[in-house]
């Protein structure tokens, strides 16, 4: 079951993201940032049982959902016409992430989200959520608050 699911994702990535191959390449140029994000022992996100997260990360997921990011990046961030964020977030720094969110990459099809109040308020939570997805710590799909 799980196996066939994964194959679908792979196919959609390969087949439908040919036109944005360049995005993936440029993403890999970004400096690795993982270590900087949890400095002073402060966790970027908190997660329990894979689907219960802290308030900030929850708002990040809600932002992901409200802005319909899955339309390009896939329901599980696996990539579609937009790049896989599971992969991109392994390398993308928080600063670069913020920059792309605000200014977009219009030439590659990524719109700027600087006019969205939700993104302005929650972009750090969104970064935390996607980082958690990329780290494999947060499960795809619906999330709940930590009780």
């Amino acid at each position: 079951m799980k196996h066939s699911t994964q194959r679908v994702m792979k196919w959609s990535t390969v087949v439908l993201s040919l036109s944005i191959a360049a995005v993936c390449v440029s993403a890999s140029d970004a400096p690795a940032a993982g270590a900087n994000d949890s400095r002073a022992g402060e966790a970027l996100y908190q997660v329990q049982e894979g689907n219960k997260v802290d308030e900030k990360t929850l708002k990040g997921w809600k932002t992901w959902r409200a802005l319909a990011c899955e339309r390009c990046h896939g329901a599980e961030q696996e990539g579609m016409v937009g790049p896989s964020l599971v992969e991109s977030l392994k390398k993308l720094s928080k600063e670069d992430f913020h920059n792309i969110m605000m200014n977009g990459r219009p030439e590659k099809g990524m719109p700027p989200f600087n006019t969205s109040a939700m993104v302005n308020e929650n972009w750090e939570g969104l970064y935390a959520y996607l980082k958690g997805r990329s780290d494999g710590k947060i499960q795809p799909g619906r999330l709940q608050p930590i009780p």
Partner: protein, 608 residues
């Protein structure tokens, strides 16, 4: 002095055309050697009288020639053929090529420079549904909401008009339509909170003639509260005042959607244009209580004034994204012993509707896929669907995931147009056989940002044949399926029926198929390089009949589905879902043209 003379003559000529005589488009459409409009005619029949290729010999047809379009995205629509020239189009950036049929060389090319920032605000791939022809012009509706009229002989821009604003999410995917001397176009952006409308231009000058919104004040909607009629308690009655505002909460109608990206039809006798409107703004029904008029509606409007003669809302207060944009076929039927000028519409919501196209009376509304479950039936007195609360995300409310709703958001049929077999009177319909889960949630509107508010997953209809599509023959007089041929994937390609007793369509794996109109028996198939989401067309040149199609997967079926499937396949077993598609196809962009083998010319080639 001389100048004045010319003016008088010109005016005389123009008025004659409007009143009686056939336009050059009408003359071109009357010859079956041409494919002069996307549907071949005004009535959306997609039928050809050509029968050199027929049920007896279609098994022998082979590739005559091919051409790359140079773009690797979803290829919807079809080329046009007028005389010795074929006009082909591409997805974004919407290039247009005129091809000399004599030697398949380019006569001219039009390659518009469009701002690429339009691409992220396009809903479901960067498709374009094709060109229109009329008054010596080729009409292109670009993605960036620019309508362009090109000289059919040179490709030179004769006029252009702007019909929307991509900065607020307005784009275009529809083909423009020419009816008499009027170019009709629409708008896309139902997922960005735009306000849908139909727009008409004078084909001579590009001057805007009228614009009719799908929601809002009567004046802006071009409806007359006393004269525009709708089906009410078993008869036609006036719609009343301000229905496009009162059926919404507050100002929600301003983000009301009701986009207009389908295939329009025209009845010259009644002078009425027929089209459907799309989903209401935000997919979260809790945010827009009311019937949300006139989203999800069939309209019949006067071609000259745009005034609506009648309207019929298929899905009041949508909770499923069942856009009402699908094509309307104008056919004359005998229903219960009475001859009726009918309009037939296969809605995304899974019901096949037959209405009187002159009056708007509802005659037939039946499921054209028996597994449709969101409504048990259409109440023929009220004209409203009887919704099953079990499959109603509006009833369960936000943040509740409703499961196994059939059909899925992309409908029992989407834009892929059906074809009318004039011989048998049956309609040949390419369909989807897909169900979904639907979880609405609260969203806020920001101009130019997605305004969706629901998470969906889609999967093959459970407990059925395992495939995601059917190709069916439909009796629109009785609302019954005559025959049904299961397909592994959604049939996202438009059908073509011919007097040769065959119907052609394409599949997402990339096959173009010919089947018998009598029973759906497969007579011929050919594998093209990519999945087919274009419409099959036919023409005659040099005494030979040709059949063609674009090959290039994409569209909602190619993009949205593949992603939505991930969670959905869990718990369903190894059904024949989209995972298999990768075995058959990849992105492409080409035109394929087929014909019967020409023994004489083969011999000549061999001698050379």
């Amino acid at each position: 002095m001389k100048r004045q003379h010319c003016w008088v003559l010109l005016v005389a000529a123009t008025s004659t055309v409007t009143v009686a005589s056939a336009t050059d488009l009408e003359m071109a459409m009357s010859k079956s050697s041409n494919w002069a409009a996307q549907a071949g005619d005004y009535a959306n029949h997609r039928y050809s009288e050509l029968k050199q290729i027929n049920a007896g010999n279609v098994g022998k047809i082979q590739v005559a020639w091919t051409m790359s379009t140079g773009v690797l995205r979803g290829h919807e629509g079809s080329p046009l053929v007028i005389g010795d020239t074929m006009y082909i189009h591409t997805p974004f950036p919407n290039n247009v090529y005129a091809i000399n049929l004599k030697d398949q060389s380019y006569k001219w090319k039009y390659e518009p420079k469009q701002d690429a920032s339009v691409v992220p605000v396009m809903c479901c791939d960067t498709v374009n549904r094709g060109l229109a022809y009329g008054d010596g012009k080729i009409l292109l509706q670009q993605a960036d909401t620019t309508l362009v009229a090109l000289d059919m002989n040179s490709g030179k821009v004769l006029w252009s008009a702007k019909n929307g604003n991509p900065k607020i999410g307005e784009t275009n995917t529809n083909a423009p339509h020419v009816f008499k001397d009027v170019v009709v176009t629409g708008i896309s952006g139902g997922e960005f909170g735009v306000r849908g409308r139909l727009i008409a231009y004078d084909i001579k000058s590009g001057k805007k003639l009228w614009q009719a919104y799908s929601t809002g004040p009567d004046k802006e909607m071009l409806v007359d509260p006393a004269k525009t009629m709708t089906w009410t308690n078993g008869k036609m009655a006036p719609i009343g005042a301000d229905t496009g505002i009162k059926s919404w909460k507050g100002d929600q109608w301003k983000l009301g959607g009701g986009t207009t990206w389908g295939w329009y039809a025209y009845d010259p006798k009644l002078n009425l244009v027929y089209y459907g409107t799309g989903n209401p703004g935000t997919w979260n029904p809790a945010q827009r209580p009311g019937d949300n008029k006139w989203s999800m509606t069939l309209f019949a409007r006067d071609l000259n004034t745009g005034m609506a003669k009648w309207a019929y809302q298929m899905t009041p207060h949508d909770e499923w994204d069942y856009d009402g944009v699908n094509e309307n076929l104008l056919v004359d039927l005998t229903i219960k012993g009475k001859k009726v000028p009918a309009v037939v519409h296969f809605d995304r919501n899974g019901f096949g509707y037959t209405l009187n196209r002159e009056t708007g009376e509802l005659l037939v509304a039946e499921k054209y896929d028996p597994t449709v479950n969101w409504a048990t039936k259409v109440d023929m007195k009220t004209g409203r669907p009887v919704v099953d609360k079990k499959y109603s995300p509006g009833t369960t409310g936000p943040d509740v995931n409703v499961k196994d709703i059939c059909p899925a958001a992309l409908g029992s049929k989407d834009q892929q147009p059906a074809s009318y077999d004039r011989k048998s009177g049956l309609i040949m319909v390419p369909t989807n056989h897909v169900c979904m889960t639907y979880e609405p949630f609260q969203v806020e509107y920001t101009a130019g940002q997605p305004y969706v508010g629901a998470t969906l997953t889609m999967y093959p209809t459970p407990g059925s044949h395992g495939g995601m599509g059917n190709f069916i023959a439909w009796d629109a007089a009785t609302g019954k399926i005559a025959w049904s041929k299961p397909e592994r994937f959604s049939v996202w390609s438009g059908a073509l029926t011919t007097a040769g007793d065959i119907v052609f369509y394409g599949t997402l794996e990339g096959y173009i198929k010919a089947v018998s109109t009598k029973d759906g028996k497969e007579l011929w198939k050919f594998k093209t390089p990519s999945g087919i989401i274009g419409n099959v067309f036919t023409y005659e040149y040099g005494g030979k009949q040709y059949v063609g199609t674009y090959s290039g997967i994409g569209g909602w079926a190619g993009i949205g589905m593949a992603a939505g499937l991930t969670e959905a396949t869990e718990g369903l077993g190894a059904v024949g879902g989209y995972k298999d598609l990768a075995k058959y196809t990849t992105l492409g962009g080409s035109l394929f043209v087929f014909g019967l083998p020409d023994t004489t010319s083969t011999a000549t080639t061999a001698l050379q």
